[in-house]
C-alpha cells in the first residue's frame, strides 16, 4: 500500500528512528561486553556515552536522508509506520533495561 499522505522526509526519518533506536540498544550490549570497543569509544570523544550519542545521531541523520532518496519509504502505510514506532521504542527500551538487569547488576 503506497503512502501518499505523509511526505517522504517524514517516512524516511521514522524508518531511520526505528533502526537508530535498535542500533543504540544493541550498541549498549556490544560495548558493555567488549572492553576494547568501550575504551576505543571513550578515547574518541573523552567518554564512551558521548561517542554513543554522536554515533546514534549521525546514523539517524544519514539513514533519514538516504531513505528519502529511495522509493522504499513510499511503500509503507501510516498504520505500519505507527506500529514501527511503537515496537522499535518498546524493543529498544527492553533491550537496554533487560541487558543492564542481567549483565550489570
Amino acid at each position: 500500500m503506497e503512502n501518499s499522505k505523509l511526505n517522504i522526509m517524514t517516512i524516511s526519518f521514522i524508518l531511520s528512528f526505528a533502526i537508530s533506536s535498535i542500533f543504540t540498544s544493541l550498541l549498549v550490549i556490544v560495548k558493555e561486553t567488549n572492553e576494547g570497543l568501550k575504551e576505543w569509544m571513550a578515547n574518541l570523544t573523552g567518554h564512551h556515552w558521548v561517542t554513543h550519542g554522536v554515533f546514534t545521531i549521525i546514523l539517524f541523520l544519514i539513514l533519514g536522508f538516504v531513505f528519502s532518496k529511495t522509493s522504499i519509504s513510499k511503500k509503507l502505510s501510516t498504520e505500519k509506520l505507527t506500529n514501527v514506532v511503537i515496537w522499535s521504542t518498546i524493543i529498544g527500551s527492553l533491550l537496554i533495561s533487560g541487558f543492564i538487569i542481567l549483565h550489570i547488576i
Partner: protein
C-alpha cells in the same frame, strides 16, 4: 543561583519538554485548522527542550556526575543503593537516546499537510507524543531514584 542552574538545567529542560508534549497531546485531541499553528509551535518546543536536556545533561554527566572518586556516581556506588547508578543511571542515559530521536520526529509528523483530514497521521502523531510522555516521565522517575542513591551514599548507608 546560576551555579545551581547548571546542576538542574537538564531536569528543568526535561520537564519543559514533557509539558510541551502534554500541550501537543491536548492540541492533537482537539485537532482542527484553528489550532494547527499552536500545535506546530509546541511540537517544536518539545523537540528543542528535549535536545537542551540532552546537551545540558551530557555536560553535567561528564563534568560533575562521573568525576573520578568525587562525582555523584561514586557516592551512589559507595552507599546502600548502588542500583541508583548500576541500573537507573545506566538505563536512563541510554534510553534517553530513544526519547531524543522520538522528539525529533514529532515536528516532522505534525508539519504534514494532511494532518487535520487524515486520521492515521493524527494517530501516528498521538502515538509519538504519548511515547515521549511515557519515556519523559520515566526519565524523571529514574532521575529521582538516582538522587535517592546519592542521598543514601552521603548518609553512609
Amino acid at each position: 543561583m546560576l551555579e545551581n542552574f547548571g546542576d538542574i538545567a537538564h531536569v528543568i529542560f526535561g520537564v519543559l519538554g514533557i509539558l510541551g508534549s502534554v500541550w501537543v497531546l491536548v492540541e492533537l485531541l482537539n485537532l482542527r485548522e484553528a489550532n494547527l499553528n499552536r500545535l506546530k509551535l509546541f511540537s517544536n518546543f518539545t523537540a528543542i527542550f528535549i535536545w537542551l536536556s540532552y546537551i545540558f545533561g551530557g555536560w553535567w554527566y561528564k563534568v560533575y556526575y562521573g568525576v573520578q572518586e568525587v562525582g555523584d556516581k561514586y557516592k551512589i556506588l559507595a552507599g546502600s543503593f548502588p542500583e541508583g547508578h548500576t541500573f537507573f543511571m545506566e538505563a536512563k542515559e541510554h534510553i534517553f537516546f530513544i526519547l531524543l530521536l522520538l522528539s525529533s520526529i514529532l515536528p516532522m509528523i505534525v508539519y504534514n499537510k494532511s494532518l487535520v483530514e487524515d486520521k492515521s497521521i493524527k494517530k501516528l502523531a498521538l502515538t509519538v507524543t504519548i511515547l515521549i510522555l511515557i519515556l519523559g516521565f520515566g526519565m524523571e522517575g529514574f532521575g529521582s531514584l538516582i538522587a535517592k542513591g546519592v542521598k543514601m551514599g552521603l548518609l553512609g548507608g
